[in-house]
Amino acid sequence: MLESVIREQLAAVVGGKWFKDDPESLVSYSYDATPLYQAMPDGVIFPGSTQEVSDIVKICSKHRIPVITRGAGSNLCGGTIPLQGGLIVVMTRMNKLLEIDADNLTATFQTGLNTKQFHLAVEQTGLFYPPDPSSMIICTMGGNIALGAGGLRGLKYGTTKDYVLGLEAVLPDGSILRTGGKLVKDAAGYDLTRLLVGSGGTLAILTEATVKLIPKPSYRKAMVAVYDDLNAAARTVSNIIANHIFPCTLEFMDQPTLQVVEEFAKIGLPVHAKAMLAIEQDGNVDDVERDLKKLEEICLASGAVQLNIAKTPEEGAKVMEARRSALAALSRLRPTTILEDATVPRSKIADMVLEVQRIAQKYDVQICTFGHAGDGNLHPTAMTDARDPEEIHRVEQAFAEIFEVAIAMGGTITGEHGVGIVKAPYLEWKVGQAGIKMMKSIKDAIDPHQIMNPGKLFAETRKRIVFQERTEQAERTERDSASDQDQKIETS
């Protein structure tokens, strides 16, 4: 509970209607889309302008009140859970699309803007904003930027971080910062825009953004390739890249995922197959048709047992829509669904999927894998029950090992969800001691009183797991180095 003088000050900034601290409001902003996490804030505030955000932050800074910014609360890393209480700043009132600049190919908006709405508005003008997180129907652009969201089109077009050109943000002392602008080239000092993208509300509150747009591809076509062998599917991914084709979407689903998504979407997915790839290409008609033909050949040569090319755009859209619903549809299997975000170089997809299956078996947990095969961003997803702490513990162990394996393959702990609370214990595994030290110095310099989203990004680092079973990868490495040694002995 905030002191009454602070409550009055906050209410005065936004008007009484937009500051709330009744039990109902506190409960309903105590969670986001991340399972297992919940914590009560002390108040909830809905600013209507950047100036209001600045005034709010000044009050919080003076009284050392934690500030947790939030859009739709659809993130999966616990990024908006008020771990230490404090004030939730809900950005959804600041949802204006300020400008689509067709001459400079940019769009400028307030960060509370809904992502789907933004896409629709941009596409109406014949332009295109590629990043398309699966939650775009509800999530906000600010959330996408704060956590570095990706989506299904990352392989060809990159993710949110590749599109943000400029930001307006309120810093922890209440000052208002503007970075970048409508510029493709900008070499003026540290890249503060990039620093804030993915900072997860730990450095500043993002209030406005300018992003880059591209011309809308005139044509798109989708196909589905079905496999009765997981390795063949993974081989296809490698072969597609090796042939220098970049489909706009290259999605992978394993069998358990297929079955559940089909049950939900009822679009005739091959539920008896071991794996499926959903592939889409966009561009001009000739290029797309040519690529599709080549993709067809590659799939067959790599061992696809069935190919379906969408006859109409609607049919193609249906497949992609079904893929988008995979996460939530999986939740029909068991009460609690924990979706992870392990990412590996795309050449390692097959190894990673097999490793996930091995690890699931080892810890006796059910894990389905789907994801953006083309960019190596996999979503191993555990179906479990939050009411069974023993099982949850095994799930946590399994995920720790999955991250370890991903890093060992040159991958990362999160491709698009961000670090938040969930990945904080593993961040050091990825960035190393020096990385953590540098990140912490930045945080301390900008936010000396640690009021911005405390408890996120940095946490006590987990001990790395000592592999109980040796992975094929490890065995291979050992074998290779042994034979290297043999050779050395021979040559010496």
Partner: protein
């Protein structure tokens, strides 16, 4: 915690389905489908938020205080969140369980109690009393009393929204379907089943394609009896023999939504028995709100100790079809009346979904397709047709502010279509649309009609036998 809160919390712990609460993975996909979230932007006023509040009470995180209760009341129960939910959370069941617990644990204020008791127990289940009200209304409308009430300013004694609603009331005859049918001299016969229940049987026009039980509804048969007559006329034309079991009663939807589950089950049991006796292939509903509960009788009765009743409820639920499904897919195609002058401009029509028809019965294509088949009609899709109009049972009376906000937005969208006719599939929505037209001052340019009445004017119907 105060003692009523404590009792309610305890009762919610016992009644709320813990699996459904846990199944909500909080992805938030429901939010953009929820009218109260779209209007308020508040997490608590969304399905995800309301489920979180329910869970918080069950977990002991908060007490079910007044604001909790009013948040539950603010939900329209339109259930647009259910088709949007990939995790298949049964939100409708959760909100009903919550409201039932509230209704059981904390008595309503005296006037509300009187109104609830009068309508839910005193009137809806009793056909005779409903008819009497119908006759009275008919007298009120025909005798000049209505004119007097309006011109004398007596209506001004009532709140604005009641005045506007009063104007939107359709003319009432006081006769129900059976009386209107027999008075019109149309063909029918009486049958009595072996166990003695009485049926009115209306023969199909031409070859018979199936036998349909007609669910006439309670308010439908008083306020919209002519719509019931048109329903039968259309069904006959599509080749159905129509059976009207006399022992059928109110569907119980209003009771279930108000948390009076015992009453709802009792009514359901009576209907299941009455239609079981009638030995029909399908049961026709022409009101989305009723149809949705009829379609969920299996769920309503799933915990009944009598296994035969459970089985009968499953069979009943399976037989229930909306009138548009029967006419579109199961009967003989209807023949449109060709416009006399093909040069005439087609009439622009738009369609407002009945939430329960769309979200619970999952019928959205058939009404539109039936209208698109008519050459004299130009269908123009209503932006946000899937968003609740704010009628929602008696929501427009209990939550007038939210209801009128939704309605006014709805009317802006209607205006954008340029439609002269708003077609609906449920009496509540129909009244609400009429009210909306009053509010927007468009009485002379736009009318609202039930799909059945609209079709009855646009297709060929041979009422007399061949």
């Amino acid at each position: 915690m105060s003692s009523t809160h404590e009792k309610l919390a305890q009762s919610l712990k016992l009644t709320l389905d813990e699996d459904q609460l846990t199944n909500c993975m909080r992805c938030g996909f429901c939010q953009t489908a929820c009218p109260t979230f779209l209007e308020t932007g508040l997490e608590a006023a969304s399905p995800r938020g309301r489920i979180a509040l329910m869970k918080a009470v069950v977990d002991g995180l908060m007490e079910p205080d007044e604001s909790f209760r009013s948040q539950m009341d603010l939900c329209l129960g339109c259930r647009a969140c259910e088709p949007a939910c990939p995790s298949d959370v049964k939100y409708g069941q959760l909100i009903e369980q919550t409201r039932a617990a509230i209704a059981a644990e904390k008595p309503y204020s005296l006037p509300v109690r009187v109104v609830r008791k009068t309508f839910l127990q005193g009137i809806f289940p009793h056909r005779g009393r409903l008819k009497l009200i119908g006759k009275t209304l008919s007298f009120y409308q025909k005798s000049g009393l209505q004119k007097f009430a309006r011109s004398s300013g007596a209506m001004k004694l009532f709140p604005d929204h009641l005045q506007q609603l009063e104007k939107a009331l359709p003319p009432v005859t006081g006769d129900g379907l059976e009386e209107l049918w027999s008075k019109a001299g149309l063909p029918y016969r009486r049958e009595t089943t072996d166990s003695g229940s009485r049926l009115m049987v209306i023969p199909a026009a031409g070859a018979k394609v199936g036998r349909v039980g007609m669910f006439r509804g309670c308010i439908m048969d008083v306020m919209f009896a002519s719509t019931n007559v048109n329903t039968v006329r259309l069904l006959r034309q599509a080749g159905f023999e129509i059976v009207i079991p006399e022992e059928q009663v109110c569907c119980g939807a209003l009771h279930a939504h108000a948390g009076e589950m015992g009453d709802a089950k009792q009514l359901a049991g009576q209907n299941i028995w009455a239609f079981g006796e009638a030995d029909v292939d399908y049961i026709a509903s022409n009101a989305g709100g009723c149809g949705a509960l009829l379609k969920e009788y299996d769920h309503l009765m799933h915990a009944e100790p009598d296994e035969r009743l459970q089985q009968a409820a499953i069979r009943f639920a399976d037989q229930v079809k909306d009138i548009s499904e029967l006419l579109h897919s199961l009967g003989r195609p209807l023949t449109p009346i060709q416009a006399e002058n093909p040069q005439n401009e087609a009439i622009t029509v738009t369609y407002q979904d009945s939430c329960h028809l769309r979200n619970v019965m999952r019928v959205q294509g058939e009404p539109r397709q039936l209208m698109e088949l008519l050459p004299a009609v130009q269908m123009c899709e209503l932006q946000g047709a899937e968003v609740c109009c704010g009628s929602a049972g008696i929501y427009n009376l209990t939550q007038t502010e939210m209801s009128t906000t939704l309605l006014d937005h709805k009317m802006e969208h209607v205006e954008a279509t340029g439609a002269k006719v708003i077609v609906t599939s449920n009496p509540g929505c129909l009244l609400q649309m009429k009210w909306g037209i009053e509010r927007a001052g468009k009485q002379n340019g736009v009318e609202a009609v039930h799909l059945v009445d609209f079709l009855a004017e646009q297709v060929l119907i041979e009422d007399k036998p061949d």
